[in-house]
């Protein structure tokens, strides 16, 4: 029998920290994926997840019970990630690319077969680096909007709620992100002639 988010939030609000633990265990993994897509770095993502839950706990009294706890949590995590990415940009630091070979394989599988496997692997590594660079070139808002729309499957209206902006503005952030990514990746993604 599963405790719903709403009940756990209610219990946590009345001082039951263990109930908040249920929420952390339930949402931790998806929050990590979001944070990783946003920051591009595993250590940063873990920091964002922890910071997000701590912020959420401190702000529980502000949570509107009619809303979805998951969306509210995503908003906090997106803002934590934005803070981190902005701070990184201010300091002129780029996210360190994490290029484990095991992680490159899925990308190679999406590319058209243009030659023997070693060549495909090399190409996938190159494209992967280009993709990481292109993601880093997005503004923090564009990156957030794109990650929420593309990877998390949120509709534009939900994205706008997370970003606390008008749906039109969220839409334009996604457009700009896709346009930048297309310009950076199209040559590599084009089928071999």
């Amino acid at each position: 029998m599963e405790l719903t988010d709403a009940v756990a939030v209610g219990m946590a609000r009345s001082g039951d920290a263990d109930a908040f633990g249920v929420l952390v265990e339930r949402h931790g993994r998806s929050l990590f994926r979001l944070a990783y897509r946003m920051t591009g770095n595993q250590q940063d993502a873990e920091d964002v997840v922890q910071e997000s839950f701590l912020r959420a706990f401190k702000q529980l009294h502000r949570f509107d019970e009619r809303a979805s706890f998951g969306t509210w949590l995503y908003r906090i995590a997106a803002n934590c990630s934005l803070d981190l990415v902005r701070a990184r940009k201010r300091r002129g630091v780029q996210a360190a690319p994490e290029c484990a070979d095991a992680e490159r394989e899925p990308l190679a599988q999406t590319l058209p077969a243009t030659g023997p496997d070693p060549e495909r692997m090399a190409l996938s590594g190159e494209v992967r680096d280009r993709l990481a660079e292109a993601m880093n070139e997005l503004s923090p808002t564009e990156r957030t909007a794109f990650v929420l729309r593309h990877f998390e499957g949120m509709c534009m209206r939900e994205v706008s709620r997370v970003l606390e902006c008008q749906p039109g503005a969220a839409k334009h952030s996604v457009f700009r992100a896709v346009q930048k990514l297309r310009r950076a990746l199209e040559p590599a993604a084009s089928p071999a002639k």
């Binding site: 009940v7 219990m11 993604a189």
Partner: protein, 244 residues
Amino acid sequence: MNHLSEEQLILHYYGEEDDSPAASRHLEECEACREFYASLQRVLNVVDALPAPDPGPEYGARVWRKIERQLPARRRRPSPAAFPWRWALAATAFAGLLAAAFLAGRFDPQPGAKATVSAAAADPQTGERVLLVAVGDYLERSQMVLIELANANPKGKLDISSERERAGDLAVESRLYRQTAAHTGDTAVAGVLEELDRVLLDIAHGPAEVSPAELEHLRQRMESQGILFKIRVLGANVRQQETL
């Protein structure tokens, strides 16, 4: 022919545009837009493959272990361990309540509760311990009644007269524990006991035979309140105190 804009194609890719059938028709007829759309799909498919490491199913529990101690103290569950004197007071108050109930002739406690009275009255420390045992036992018995009903899967009417009787007895006991918790300011504990009391009373005052639909209704109610989870957490806390 007006071509579709890049924005329209992006919205079409995400299934967000208002005139999806019109865009689909246009794509069927216009080779230039089709090519552009195919290129957009290829790029976004590449983006899809951006790897994100999976931290594993235990990740949430690991995060919780890391942050648990960093939570502000004022927001922690009021734990009996943090206020042992409160449970000593509670034991005394509880003994007083039971004594008053006896004198008023309104309460015929379970044999276990009778033992609680004499032990608690004799020595506050012993009383505290006995009280914890009694509360832990009460929660366990309540949990068993609810689990039996939650797990029942009858084809037709189900005789729950035994559960009904036990729920009635437990509801009588519950009142005293609830008053004790309220007396010591344990609002969280009092809240859970109050919720449990309401469920037990509904079972006790309900029919001796229930249909599968009525049972499902009860199950949904327990699920929406998360009552079993709350009892389990409270019971675990009480048991922990018993062993200290």
